[in-house]
Amino acid sequence: MALSRHAGRSRLTLVFLILTSITVITLDFRGGGEGLIASVRDGAADVLAPVRDAGAGVLEPVGDALSGVTGYGELEDENAVLRARIAELEGSVLRDEGAEGELAEARALLDLDFGSDLPRVDARVISTPVSNFEQTIELDQGRDDGVDIDMPVVSGAGLVGQVVHVSASRSTVRLVTDPASAVGVRLARSSEVAVAEGEGPQRLLSLSFVDPAADVSVLELVVTSGLNDSVFPPGIPVGRVALADPAPGRLEQRVEVRPVADLAQLRLVSVLQTSNRTLRRP
């Protein structure tokens, strides 16, 4: 008798928790990134941030050691600076190459550049993806530093992703490889316009809507198109074509792109302060 009463109470507790979860999910959906749930989320992230920073400071070296990475202290800092420098140089090479391509004229007309005319916030990557399903990174700059949702994030080499969540002191960036990521792009040589979609970690981006008759070549540079009020300014290098398969009879060409930014080794990035309220589409 007592056992069945206990089982009944357990089930009641579970039902209560399920209903609470559904209520929270509903509130989150209705809030649309703002409101009570967003405040709770932001607050928790901000409150835990110093603890996480302190914890990461202590625990990250353990993680590094266990994963076989042996860069510490000055060596690690030096590596970060060198990586940023290499990425910057790669970016300038890509920019030069793009300027020499058929896109040069259009780029000049449209005043395309790698976001140099935009104010930017430099940020340090403080967390790699927490989830096994999301390709996101966390930055040490937030709303108080001028970061806002939808702002594009670049490394010296090119596009990294887009800010999808921001709290007072932190921001979360969805990488271009995230399956939920879609970036309007243009192929630098063939001028084909397409959408670059993420396929998950360690996988190439896939381009949608590429004309099967388009002359797409391997290693061709892919840059953001900036069309239709995109959140991404035009001309930011996204990647290079790794595979172009114009299979006859298909409605679109199969094109895969390798990101130019080394997303696995990000340390320092810049958030481009676009006026995101007027730029909405990917």
């Binding site: 999910i25 590094d64 399956p179």
Partner: protein, 168 residues
């Protein structure tokens, strides 16, 4: 010390490991899901009812660092912890390997349930071929870590000492 004073630091420590350490230790790009493991350990150590409540709390904390709908992990983890607790109650003799096997199976089911519930909520990207790899590896990693997690959770929920005797 009571469970009320032991649980918050355990949860906080788990969040730290979940966000700062586990992502550094990936096997084929997949990290252990520490918060899911905590929920499973709660189910094993505390039974269905308290396990579900602790799973809910662990899920809410995990949701703070995800872009999926807030509450999705809480819903998943409370269901998994309840299931584990209910299953655990039916076992008369627990060998050493049973909690590990339970953690493995529950982790796989938890990851799949998370993805399916996410799909219902419009998170289409959660369900792909990679889900099989993620579920399998999370199950394996969580199973390996489960003895520690269960021990910690048993300590966290243990009743207070009265005159040097542990009440059971």
């Amino acid at each position: 010390m009571t469970a009320a004073t032991r649980l918050p630091p355990v949860l906080l420590g788990a969040v730290l490991i979940h966000t700062a350490v586990a992502p550094q230790l990936r096997l084929f790009g997949v990290a252990a899901d520490v918060m899911l493991l905590l929920a499973i350990a709660a189910g094993i150590a505390a039974g269905a009812e308290r396990g579900a409540a602790l799973g809910f709390a662990a899920g809410l904390l995990a949701d703070c660092f995800l872009q999926t709908p807030f509450g999705l992990s809480a819903l998943t983890y409370s269901l998994v912890a309840y299931g584990v607790g209910a299953f655990q109650a039916t076992i008369l003799h627990t060998g050493r390997w049973i909690p590990m096997l339970t953690a493995l199976v529950a982790s796989v089911l938890g990851v799949v349930l998370f993805a399916l519930l996410g799909l219902v909520l419009g998170q289409n990207h959660l369900v792909s071929v990679r889900l099989i790899t993620v579920a399998g590896l999370v199950g394996l990693l969580n199973a390996l870590l489960s003895p520690i997690a269960i021990r910690v959770m048993r300590w966290a929920i243990a009743p207070p000492l009265v005159s040097g005797v542990v009440l059971r």
